[in-house]
């Protein structure tokens, strides 16, 4: 599957396209295969997100997981600072990245 990501224009936070809005959580991302360029152009023009682009992902426990480690680090946060990730209370979240 292909999912669309970018950084929030104001905050710089990593965001994921849900089909109708942007979410901080990659598990909310939807498959944009076939419409990724059009969606990216439209959303960039709306100034909510900075330079959106599509990446490869696969379903993992029924939810999207980016195919490349760099995008998984983006989705979670720095692996060396679990307290600053989106899931600070999950002790096993590092396994999801690696």
């Amino acid at each position: 599957m292909r999912i669309l990501t970018g950084n929030d224009l104001k905050s710089g936070a990593v965001t994921w396209w849900t089909g109708s809005d942007w979410s901080l959580h990659v598990e909310d991302a939807v498959d944009v295969s076939g419409c990724e360029d059009e969606t990216a152009r439209r959303e960039e023009a709306s100034r909510r997100v900075n330079v959106p682009y599509a990446i490869d992902a696969e379903l993992h426990d029924g939810k999207p997981r980016p195919a490349h480690i760099k995008d998984r680090v983006r989705a979670l946060g720095p692996t060396v600072r679990p307290d600053l990730t989106l899931k600070p209370a999950d002790p096993d979240i590092g396994n999801w990245v690696i």
């Binding site: 950084n7 480690i69 760099k70 600053l84």
Partner: protein, 543 residues
């Protein structure tokens, strides 16, 4: 240290307001990201993996306590309570919001700081010896010359769009503590026949094509320092490649032209420029020098240190350095606790370091390119009090220049260019050696880790270097041996096939064990490697 005059302050204040307007226009959609990117980069604002990242310039690594307090306040007010000290003697914040970036620059301007020219194809922050003004072996304090070059290079219109970024280092001792020959221009202040001058080394660098700068001029009188530097830049700006960013650094130009031909071109440009009045008036250099006078050292400061506490004695042995003035020492505050993130400091730690600098080091701190902090002028009588305060704050690790004092770039945990994570590897290595108890036996062993070929972690210059690469989407680590950034400069060589994360930690220990087995009296790791060569290490690593 240098203090802004009204011109410096006016320039920085104007730049803040200019950027505030640019950011506003971007947020309102009047600028596209493509239009805005070069503008934000000129103000040190990157877009990294998780958020915007702001790189703040610390000229030649020198800070006062007021500035360090301001950096701590920025970490709390605009970021997540910490900052990362870099291999360019700067500090970076990882969680910046665009809508607040101009406010941060305004806060920096209030303490005579900025983020100008910390990115982009321009002359970057001038770096220098972190012990400048304190070192026993220096000829003169190199910082007035670094400051002169900082002023010359700031907003220099001719060098605002160079083929690539440009880095200059200035030192004034035979011991090189600034990786001088791995810079685009390395300037070594020397003395010939009673006159001070500068030896110019041009065309060094790390990155994907590491090169050691050759000496192109052994002596340029200091009253021609800026003119000769400008001649070096002019030839590069004119002849440097712009068709391929990977071949655009000056090292490629010097290599392709040959050092002799490049020098000839520079000398011709220099002769041409001598008649044009490029050089700032000597009075300006004298004015700058007045900011770098010695602080009022006590003439009869007690040079005795009570070493009855073994932990303190170990820290003194490892983390303090001889000072030019009897009764004083330079103290290195390690930002490398075992298992910690190299170069990171919390806002509370920054405030403590600032307060300790004010109390015990004439209000001065230095950022080292090895990602530690120096208090340059501490009375030996105050060292125990200083160490006690550092210990309580987790800043008392006694590991300067040991295998636990690892340089590591932010790597894939933060950097959009990285291919592999650097920090977890550094953490595991420091934990491994701390637990094994081998650190003391290994002595000086400089270990440097980069998460990609850009080499921000200086892996080419490590006695042991590690380069993270992406092998089909999986992190992989190459091991390098034999590098040095010091006066015995050399480039490390790759041992062979790479390792996974666990494997690279084992590999470093294996290499260290070869050294322990093979070393002769007084040899450092690097000395043994140079004597016995790569083969014994390869045999131990790969069988």
């Amino acid at each position: 240290m240098y203090l802004y005059d009204q011109y410096d302050q006016a320039m920085v204040d104007a730049r803040v307001e200019e950027f505030r307007d640019q950011a506003r226009r971007r947020l309102e959609g009047k600028l596209t990201e493509a239009q805005f990117t070069p503008l934000r980069l000129k103000n040190g604002l990157y877009l990294q993996l998780h958020a915007y990242m702001l790189r703040v310039a610390v000229p030649y690594g020198t800070l006062n306590s007021r500035q360090m307090h301001a950096l701590a306040d920025i970490a709390d007010k605009y970021d997540r309570g910490y900052g990362h000290f870099t291999t360019r003697q700067n500090i970076q914040y990882n969680w910046i919001k665009l809508e607040e970036a101009a406010d941060i620059l305004a806060d920096l301007a209030k303490v005579e700081m900025h983020a100008i020219q910390t990115s982009g194809n321009c002359i970057r922050n001038i770096s220098s010896d972190h012990f400048a003004g304190a070192a026993k072996d220096e000829l003169v304090d190199p910082r007035p010359y670094a400051e002169l070059l900082r002023q010359w290079s700031s907003f220099h219109p001719e060098f605002n769009a160079l083929p690539r970024k440009f880095k200059i280092a200035v030192i004034a001792s035979d011991t090189d503590r600034a990786a001088m020959r791995l810079h685009d221009i390395g300037i070594h202040i020397v003395e010939h026949g009673g006159e001070l001058g500068a030896a110019f080394y041009v065309g060094g660098g790390m990155g994907r094509t590491p090169m050691i700068a050759p000496c192109i001029k052994e002596f340029v009188p200091l009253y021609q320092l800026v003119t000769y530097t400008e001649a070096c830049l002019r030839v590069y700006n004119r002849e440097g490649r712009r068709d391929n960013k990977y071949k655009a650094r000056i090292k490629i130009l010097v290599h392709e032209m040959g050092a002799e031909a490049y020098t000839k071109a520079v000398d011709a440009e220099f002769e041409h420029m001598l008649g044009q009045g490029i050089e700032p008036p000597f009075a300006e250099l004298e004015r700058i020098r007045t900011f770098f006078q010695d602080p009022p050292f006590e003439e009869d400061a007690n040079g005795e240190i009570d070493r009855s506490d073994p932990d303190f004695a170990l820290w003194v042995d490892r983390n303090t350095v001889s000072h030019k003035t009897e009764g004083y020492a330079s103290a290195v505050i390690s930002l490398k606790p075992v298992g910690g993130i190299p170069g990171d400091a919390t806002s509370d730690q920054m405030r403590l370091m600032a307060d300790l600098a004010k109390a015990y080091s004439f209000d001065e701190l230095r950022v080292m390119h090895t990602q530690n902090i120096v208090l340059p002028h501490v009375r030996k009588a105050d060292l125990h009090t200083l160490w006690t305060a550092l210990e309580e704050a987790g800043l008392g690790s006694p590991n300067l220049d040991t295998v636990e004092d690892i340089i590591a770039c932010p790597g894939l945990d933060y950097c959009s260019l990285a291919n592999a994570r650097s920090i977890p590897v550094a953490q595991k290595i420091s934990e491994r050696f701390s637990a094994s108890g081998k650190t003391e036996a290994l002595g000086q062993l400089k270990l440097k880790i980069s998460g990609c070929i850009n080499a921000c972690g200086h892996h080419h210059a490590g006695h042991i270097g590690i380069l993270g690469v992406d092998r089909k989407g999986v992190e992989n680590y190459q091991l390098l041996l034999g590098g040095s950034e010091a006066e015995d400069v050399s480039l490390a060589k790759i041992t062979g096939p790479g390792f996974d994360e666990a494997g690279i930690v084992d590999a470093v220990e294996t290499a260290a064990d070869v050294y322990l087995r093979e070393r002769e009296d007084g040899e450092r790791f690097l000395d043994t490697y140079r004597r016995i060569g790569m083969n014994p290490f390869k045999e131990a690593l790969y069988g």
